[in-house]
């Protein structure tokens, strides 16, 4: 099963705080969006292992832009 973390706000990718292969828990911060001159945390709804990182720092995103793919149980 896969889970894709999507951007909940338009803005820039401030940073991705996980690496491919990293095990993450439900509710853990995976990335940070910069919008409205504020940093907004992007947390995962599911636990899993980071399979793919689809964005890089300073990428511009809209709401719903896929950011990180997890392999879930």
């Amino acid at each position: 099963m896969e889970y894709t973390l999507k951007a909940h706000m338009p803005g820039l990718v401030a940073r991705v705080v996980v690496e491919i292969g990293e095990k993450v828990e439900e509710g853990q911060e995976l990335a940070v969006i910069n919008c409205m001159k504020t940093e907004m945390s992007c947390k995962t709804d599911k636990a899993g292992v980071v399979k793919e990182i689809l964005v890089a720092e300073w990428d511009e995103m809209d709401v719903g832009t896929p950011m990180i793919v997890l392999e879930t149980a």
């Binding site: 909940h8 706000m9 338009p10 803005g11 820039l12 910069n34 409205m36 001159k37 504020t38």
Partner: protein, 327 residues
């Protein structure tokens, strides 16, 4: 009373016209980013038009009603639900103790919703206003945005006959993704500071709103180098956007820093050393608050001061129209 279960992106107590009279001391007026939606929401629930409501930017928030009352949600459609059922916008709806109110997120058009409560929000007035100045950390609810477990008091009011009132559809504000903002030339424009070509660009080019857009300023896409009439800023600095510091024309100034224009709005700076090339008219300020950062565009339309005064009069008349609210 209303309890915050989830504060989402940014929920603030804001009224209208905000905290006027202190710009000379460096205090921005704050106030609702979309004053039209707030005023209409207040009128729907029988409040004075400028009463404080909750300004919800972006969405992703939840509330619990802790006292029976009547509410109206206006502005951007964030698919609000009351007890899991869809909640109509621009309409007064009864709420009961224990009801939960959920806002999803902004949709295709508009960025801010307003939650107006019959009776109004009971926070202390600070220097004549209940508005939160986010960047000054004063006013509103403890000078900050609302967070989980905050309980916001509301003013008790006779609720008879309020539920069911709604905005006459002919007065519904028009939302889109390209916002036409009527504007007058600012104090630093053609010919001394900006070229004719630059003014044509300013008033003829849709400009995308940056992700750097908040209650202080909405940054826009850059203007071309041909915008400038001067080689440098003289005594003000090395760039032609520099001037010797002066007071800014607020709210609605089109302020240019380097080649980047910004719309200075609710919590914006009251003075500085950059040119103000135009000013959005009062009647159109509300549109800025509904512009979606990193997505929408604004387009300035040149008007005269007389046009601006007339538009302001028409807005005031509209808010007093006998057929504004359908009972």
């Amino acid at each position: 009373m209303i309890k915050v279960l989830n504060g989402g992106i940014e929920v603030l107590v804001e009224d209208w016209p905000g905290r006027l009279g202190y710009m000379g001391l460096g205090m921005a007026a704050a106030g609702a980013m979309d004053n039209l939606a707030l005023q209409l929401g207040n009128l729907i629930v029988g409040n004075g038009a400028g009463e404080a409501g909750l300004e919800i930017a972006g969405g992703y928030c939840d509330f619990e009603i802790t006292e029976d009352g009547v509410i109206a949600v206006t502005g951007s459609d964030m698919s609000p639900t009351l007890g899991g059922e869809g909640l109509p916008l621009w309409q007064a709806v009864s709420v009961k103790t224990g009801d939960t109110l959920h806002f999803s997120h902004f949709g295709d058009a508009g960025f801010r919703s307003y939650l107006c409560i019959a009776g109004g929000i009971d926070v202390p007035e600070y220097l004549g206003s209940k508005s939160t100045c986010l960047f000054g950390s004063y006013g509103g609810f403890e000078g900050r945005k609302l967070a989980k477990d905050d309980v916001v008091k509301t003013v008790r009011k006779n609720l008879a006959g309020i539920a069911g009132r709604k905005l006459n559809p002919k007065y519904l504000p028009e939302y889109g993704n390209e916002w036409e903002l009527r504007a007058i030339p600012g104090p630093n424009s053609v010919p001394d500071y900006v070229t004719e070509e630059g003014m044509d660009y300013l008033f003829g080019t849709p400009m995308k709103i940056s992700h750097n857009a908040n209650r202080a300023a909405y940054r826009l896409q850059e203007v071309p180098a041909s915008f400038w009439a001067r080689e440098d800023g003289g005594k003000g600095g090395s760039h032609p956007s520099n001037i010797v510091d002066h007071g800014y024309n607020m709210r609605g100034a089109v302020n240019v820093t380097g080649n980047t224009p910004s719309l200075l709005i609710a919590d914006g700076p009251t003075l500085g050393g950059f040119v103000c090339v135009a000013n959005v008219i009062n009647a159109d300020l509300w549109k800025i608050g509904q512009g979606i950062p990193a997505r929408d565009k604004v387009k300035l339309k040149l008007v005269t001061v007389e046009d601006a005064i007339q538009a302001r009069k028409e807005r005031a008349e509209m808010l007093k129209a006998e057929d504004l609210i359908l009972c």
